[in-house]
């Protein structure tokens, strides 16, 4: 049964983008945008921290506005580099060629920073951030980030001794803090993203593997089944061929046996195919109603609220058999199906206005139903009168 379940899942959720691709699930893109906003937010902090540092009276002219302007240009450029990161390939280039202008813009901005502000740290911070978010190989990025952070700390010391002494110490400290933290924070965000992508791929691979195993299993079953039956049929026919001249009656017997084998093979194949079809009783009832309506019978179907708790293995075949009976005999105009849970258990009832021909052919079907229901500890009632034909099946069940 567990096979049926896994295959059912795979079937009910078809892989829309084809089997070979590793496309990411839709939901994961939301996570990508969280990642990007986190990185962008860190960068906004960096820009405002540096712009704010020179907004103090000590800064003099419009240095803060220039830093802000350069910062916005830089922000847009790094955003493009992040977009490139989204489509990265494990062994791909550091940055695809068409994103190079964005990197160039970042370099220009970073170069302009020391000239405007007199702070080397600002320049180095704006230069290193776009570099650490490039598509570094696994392991290399860690070294790049450590080196970048070390470089930033070193430059901060140099800067402290020289140009930046004119700034307010607190403003300077905030700028330094954000400059040093930024590469590490950005890369951590991207690392989380990478982990998520890896998970998503693992999930895709897993579901494909499950489907493949299922297919192999089915193929083996089909092969065994058909191989066995075909071999039997071949033998029976060979025997019939040899017997034909000597003992025509025995030959005929073998041909009949071969036909029976063919029937068994067909049934076996069908059972194999049906093994993977599981349908809820509610769906089965609704299908029954639709079918009867399609056949021109005014049919209604009522289902109990907690129909999923009903024993589908007993009632499913009952619904199938009784609906088929109503269908095949035809002539009726109305039919009513109901499955409800009463004090004494589940009660399935199918009533139709068929009056004539009630006995033809459905005897065996009803017997089969009776046996099945009795095995489950239930009862079968058949009621027929001048106007109606009704089958009522009761099986034990508990009311919640």
């Amino acid at each position: 049964m567990c096979h049926a379940h896994t295959l059912g899942c795979v079937h009910s959720k078809p892989h829309p983008r084809g089997r070979g691709s590793f496309e990411l699930a839709r939901g994961i893109w939301a996570t990508w945008w969280y990642t990007v906003s986190a990185v962008v937010l860190f960068e906004v902090f960096l820009i405002t921290a540096w712009a704010g540092a020179w907004a103090t009276p000590a800064g003099g002219t419009d240095v803060d506005l220039i830093v802000l302007g350069l910062g916005i240009v830089w922000l847009i450029a790094t955003f493009w580099i992040l977009v490139a990161y989204r489509r990265r390939e494990e062994q791909g280039p550091l940055l695809p060629r068409r994103y190079l202008p964005a990197l160039a813009v970042c370099v220009v901005v970073a170069a302009a920073m020391p000239f405007t502000t007199g702070s080397w740290l600002a320049g180095v911070a704006f230069l290193l951030q776009p570099l650490v978010i490039l598509n570094w190989q696994r392991g290399v990025r860690l070294r790049v980030v450590v080196a970048a952070t070390a470089a930033l700390i070193a430059v901060a010391f140099i800067d402290r001794a020289h140009a930046a002494t004119s700034l307010h110490p607190a403003a300077w400290a905030v700028g330094v803090a954000f400059s040093i933290i930024l590469p590490l924070a950005s890369v951590t965000s991207l690392w989380w993203w990478d982990v998520l992508v890896a998970f998503d791929r693992a999930r895709a691979v897993e579901s494909r593997l499950a489907a493949t195993q299922e297919r192999l299993l089915v193929a083996t079953d089909v092969h065994d089944l058909q191989g066995h039956h075909l071999q039997v049929i071949a033998l029976q026919l060979e025997l019939a061929e040899k017997l034909m001249g000597r003992d025509p009656d025995a030959a005929l017997e073998q041909i009949r046996a071969a036909r029976v084998s063919v029937g068994e093979a067909t049934q076996g194949t069908r059972d194999l195919a049906m093994r993977f079809r599981t349908v809820s009783l509610a769906d089965e009832l609704a299908n029954a109603r639709d079918l009867l309506q399609a056949a021109g019978i005014a049919a209604t179907a009522e289902a109990a609220v907690d129909i999923d708790a009903a024993p589908a293995d007993v009632l499913g075949p009952v619904i199938r058999e009784t609906t088929t009976n109503v269908l095949r005999h035809g002539g009726g105009r109305r039919a009513r199906l109901a499955l409800e849970l009463g004090a004494s258990g589940w009660r399935y009832e199918i009533v139709n206005d068929r009056t004539g021909g009630a006995t033809d052919g459905d005897g065996s079907g009803l017997e089969g139903i009776g046996r099945r229901v009795a095995e489950a500890g239930g009862t079968l009632d058949v009621r027929r009168d001048a106007h109606e034909f009704a089958v009522v099946v009761s099986v034990p069940g508990e009311q919640k």
């Binding site: 009910s12 829309p16 599981t278 029954a288 079918l291 399609a294 056949a295 199938r320 095949r328 002539g331």
Partner: protein, 200 residues
């Protein structure tokens, strides 16, 4: 004598079944056709009592043949199939098909069904009915199915909206709900699934 028209694109099966049916005393096979178009032409010409139609024929399939003929002649229709695809029994019953059975049934059973159907009865094989009852239910609303049906040949959202007298935004909403329900990325994929499952 019941006059029967037989249509099946598989020549081996068609001739074998015709030969077996001719062995029955009360059945005469008046025409053997290799496809749906030929079946329609011959049936209109001969007006047989019963048409036994293969479901899987290139071009016009068995149910389509029955649907087209039932409006023109008084024949009864029996459809045989190797594999009943979801929704096909419903479509057949709605098209006025009186008998439906799998190809795995022997010629003697086909003969019985032909007799029964010729006498005005209806016969649905238990296997086919069981298949139909275990079909996956369609999760889409009639309106959503309309959108898929109208747009199945790749019509634009605007065209669908005009055909159904809806606002383009409403059509887009329906499409996005459909994509969500079926777990696919494009309307074309949704149409393929719906066609495969016999919903449209």
């Amino acid at each position: 004598m019941i006059r029967v028209l037989l249509a099946d694109d598989e020549a081996m099966i068609r001739s074998a079944l015709a030969a077996l049916l001719r062995l029955e005393d009360d059945i005469d096979v008046v025409a053997e056709c290799a496809d749906g178009t030929e079946a329609i032409a011959r049936a209109v010409e001969l007006e047989p009592d019963v048409c036994v139609l293969d479901l899987e024929m290139p071009g016009v399939d068995g149910v389509d043949v029955a649907a087209q003929l039932s409006r023109r002649i008084a024949s009864r229709f029996v459809v045989v199939t190797r594999h009943a695809r979801p929704g096909v029994l419903r479509r057949a019953l709605a098209s006025g098909v009186a008998g439906f059975l799998p190809k795995s049934r022997g010629a003697d059973e086909v003969a019985q069904v032909v007799r029964k159907v010729a006498a005005g009865g209806r016969y649905v094989d238990p296997e086919i009915a069981a298949d139909a009852l275990t079909d996956e239910r369609c999760p889409l609303t009639p309106r959503e199915l309309d959108v898929l049906r109208v747009g199945r040949r790749g019509e634009t959202t605007g065209q669908i909206a005009r055909t159904l007298s809806l606002a383009p935004g409403t059509v887009r909403n329906h499409v996005s709900v459909v994509l969500g329900k079926l777990g696919v990325g494009t309307r074309q994929q949704a149409v393929l699934i719906a066609e495969e499952k016999g919903w449209i």
